[in-house]
Symmetry: C2
Subunit: 495 residues, 2 copies
């Protein structure tokens, strides 16, 4: 089988359990089928996510001929619309957009996709060892829970991380004055040395699981500081708050019709220049050109843009071999471990109880939830992030036990009505053959100083895109779009 | 080209610069050629290094039919004999063996390969910012230089690491009582917090570069403790000294004829059950068997042993997909960065000056050298390890600049005669397509606790071998042999 998509969907009303192919036939009717793929082009783009499609769009607009080769039977990469019926979708992947993410916002506007505000009226829920409490994100900690026992550590940690992040240049974190000192520490060891209450570690993990799909022990401190610095743009410096918050932060808005719709619109414009079901296996370059070999199709071109996650880029055969530093980068820059679960209800019942649908929990599989209902207000959809150790443990449970654990946790957040959904969805991004983990590639200690300079350095006729290669908003749709624009500029300079 | 082997050889007497293929035609005349490869077997073994060949040998001896598929045009993997002419070889890869490495010693004895002592008479050389000094490895620090300024830190660090390593079970480091605490720290951050003299960091790196091909920032403390614990056997606990020392340590003996000779002997016994030039691309398993597809050959079997580095194992297509935890392990468990340089002289001139040929340096490309002369005592061969940041920087120099830097450094260690070699060799293991880095896969912080349990867990009909999967002497030939023996036992239980 070409792609084991383990997305599960059980709509209780119908009892249907549809495979991803069936879902996608509904969700992506515009995607081109293979067949008469062009065998030459100015540029081959590998991967039809936001990065690759943006590069292809920019190159086409500049007059270059392009062929996009996509491994899956759909476009969108880490953006993927689940069809719930009646035109309602739940985003199984990338969902939110916020201020300073101007590049994806511009692209959405140009492709005719509107934004609408994430539901954020009322109180958030916080569940920890000491019980359940509610709080407003208009308080001084924003979306972070103002746990009174942890508040001193929370304030100190966020203030210090934000301050330290200003020392880290987003285009070259490995050149920061204290790069060596920061890169030899994990976020976990830094937190252990810089917090007072040992219970703070649980709250920190409840943040890194949804943000990174990882535990604090897995993340280089330098990488975390870069990620914070990158949560902004050229005029508005990044902060932890802008990354983590809903209000004025990266979760502020959503796309009407789902984020994947932007990719589908670009795909429509590419017509038969987009080839689906075409995983790229080999890229051979010479002094005169490049030959890209995928299952069932080979394309000759002048330049190539590889717009897939670094770990997957490392699995392509390159002839001649890439410099070993680039290869060793891809041996270490693994994808995060993030699953998304969603429950569907007739109404967003939490709203009438004065809740936003947002919850943060230090216990249970889910670390954070959001209201994912369509802009019309119904049906009610809530989704949760299961990340890091919790995602790895969750995957070992049976499907029934996973669903029971999720619904039990949702009822703890929002009340017993959560136990009676009309639908339940899961997407295990780490098990997707053509993504291998979400939301982003993670730099462990040592990676950025040793290999960071190779993240987007072109190698001959090969240019690198993908959200991991962005200066701002790496890990987000905006970073992917930025990377596609930058790669297109590189290629146009080289053509 | 199937394998860009960038080993360089310039024998000044002839001016010849031979490619690896030519060298290997000399070095491995016994290796079988492809052609009429069997299309079925009880077991397919992927990779003909020490691990795969040991597994194949054990399985064959137990009566199972085996096919070994090897990507290169030679056997040996990280063991590779450079022919210097006249039957003299210099080992471009794995070289040494020592006490407690009983499994590779037994295998050598059974294949008729003798050991001889590493030359270790006289003083070692130590070069640091404060100059050059000599010392005897019969002193209390063994092969580690007794730098008076750093001695307090050295003693403390080795004592503490050895003590902490006793808490780490070699078969499951992630279950150590303090696994979380140790795995969130890098060796670099632990050293920064546990040493007094900041200059100690340079000496520590001079050790991790040859041992791991890495900087202290790249290594999980838990992994380093495991590696120390693994430097022993079931009756003799591992210690740093046993790993690092020549006298009574892992560098005590060498193999007459070179370590690769053991692999060549096993290859001879396999005949046409060994297929060279056959990189494996796909492994498909079902309820009834497994199909292994390599370039030019497909073999059906009951079980398969994958005996290649984890990063390369992750580049095979598995059908069905492996559990995502196994895949994510291979996205993070990258190979070290270690190059080997060697210079050849008419005589081992350092011996007459009372030097062992062993040097440790905090400066320059080379961090450690050894006398690599043949047992007959001539010609004189000295090799050096260039690892971690030094290997990455070294690779960016021109070939002439690299050679000049090496010879300059060797003359600083051993005197001006080092400037006039008759030959110079380099092997950049990170640039080898079918190894991608030496000596071993490295666990950054977070990896072992998050993914360690998947290192050798069989998945259906797939069994994992390779030195990285060993409990003792991971990273060494002995670990590879142990892993092959263990994988063979697993398979025999399953057949």
């Amino acid at each position: 089988m070409a792609d084991r998509d383990i997305t599960r969907r059980s709509l209780f009303g119908t009892g249907a359990a549809l495979g991803a192919g069936a879902l996608l036939a509904e969700a992506a009717p515009s995607a081109a089928a293979s067949g008469a793929a062009p065998s030459t082009a100015d540029v081959v783009v590998v991967g039809a996510g936001f990065a690759g499609l943006t590069a292809a769009r920019e190159l086409t607009r500049a007059g270059a001929s392009v062929v996009v080769l996509e491994a899956r039977d759909r476009v969108g990469g880490r953006a993927y619309n689940h069809e719930l019926g009646g035109g309602v979708i739940s985003e199984a992947g990338a969902t939110f957009v916020g201020p300073t993410q101007d590049h994806v916002l511009n692209l959405a506007a140009e492709t005719g996709v509107a934004t609408f505000p994430t539901y954020d009226t009322g109180n958030d829920v916080y569940v920890s060892g000491s019980g359940r409490q509610t709080y407003s994100d208009t308080g001084p900690t924003g979306s972070a829970p103002p746990d009174p026992l942890l508040l001193p550590d929370l304030t100190t940690v966020i203030t210090r991380l934000d301050q330290m992040s200003t020392e880290v240049p987003v285009d070259a974190p490995w050149t920061a004055p204290k790069a060596e000192e920061y890169d030899r520490q994990s976020l976990g060891s830094w937190l252990a040395a810089n917090t007072v209450n040992p219970d703070f570690a649980a709250l920190a993990a409840a943040a890194t699981r949804p943000i990174f799909g990882a535990e604090p022990r897995e993340l280089s401190l330098l990488y975390v500081l870069y990620y914070i610095a990158a949560s902004g743009n050229e005029t508005t410096p990044g902060t932890f708050e802008r990354n983590f918050d809903t209000r004025d932060g990266a979760q502020m808005w959503r796309f009407a019709g789902g984020s994947q719709l932007i990719c589908q619109r670009i795909a429509d414009s590419l017509g038969d220049r987009l080839v689906l079901n075409a995983p790229v296996r080999r890229i051979s370059q010479s002094g005169t050109g490049v030959v890209v070999t995928a299952d069932g199709v080979t394309v000759s071109a002048k330049q190539v843009v590889v717009a897939i996650p670094p770990a997957l880029a490392g699995r392509i055969d390159y002839q001649p071999l890439l410099p070993f530093q680039r290869d060793q980068l891809t041996q270490r820059f693994g994808q995060g471990t993030l699953s998304k679960v969603a429950a569907v209800y007739p109404e967003p019942f939490w709203r009438t109880a004065g809740l936003t649908g947002q919850a943060i929990s230090t216990d249970g599989p889910i670390s954070a939830t959001f209201d994912d209902s369509p802009p019309e207000g119904g049906p009610g959809v809530v989704f949760g992030f299961v990340g890091g150790d919790r995602a790895r443990g969750f995957a070992q449970l049976s499907a029934a036990d996973r669903q029971a654990a999720v619904l039990d946790q949702l009822s703890g957040f929002f009340g017993p009505a959560a136990l009676s959904p009309t639908g339940y969805l899961e997407t295990q991004w780490a098990a997707e053959q053509w993504t291998r983990g979400c939301p982003v590639a993670l730099a462990p200690p040592g990676l950025l100083v040793s290999y960071g300079e190779w993240i987007r350095r072109p190698i001959g006729r090969i240019h690198w895109a993908g959200t991991e290669t962005s200066t701002y908003w790496a890990g987000y749709m905006d970073g992917a779009v930025r990377s596609g624009e930058r790669a297109a500029r590189e290629v146009l300079d080289a053509l």
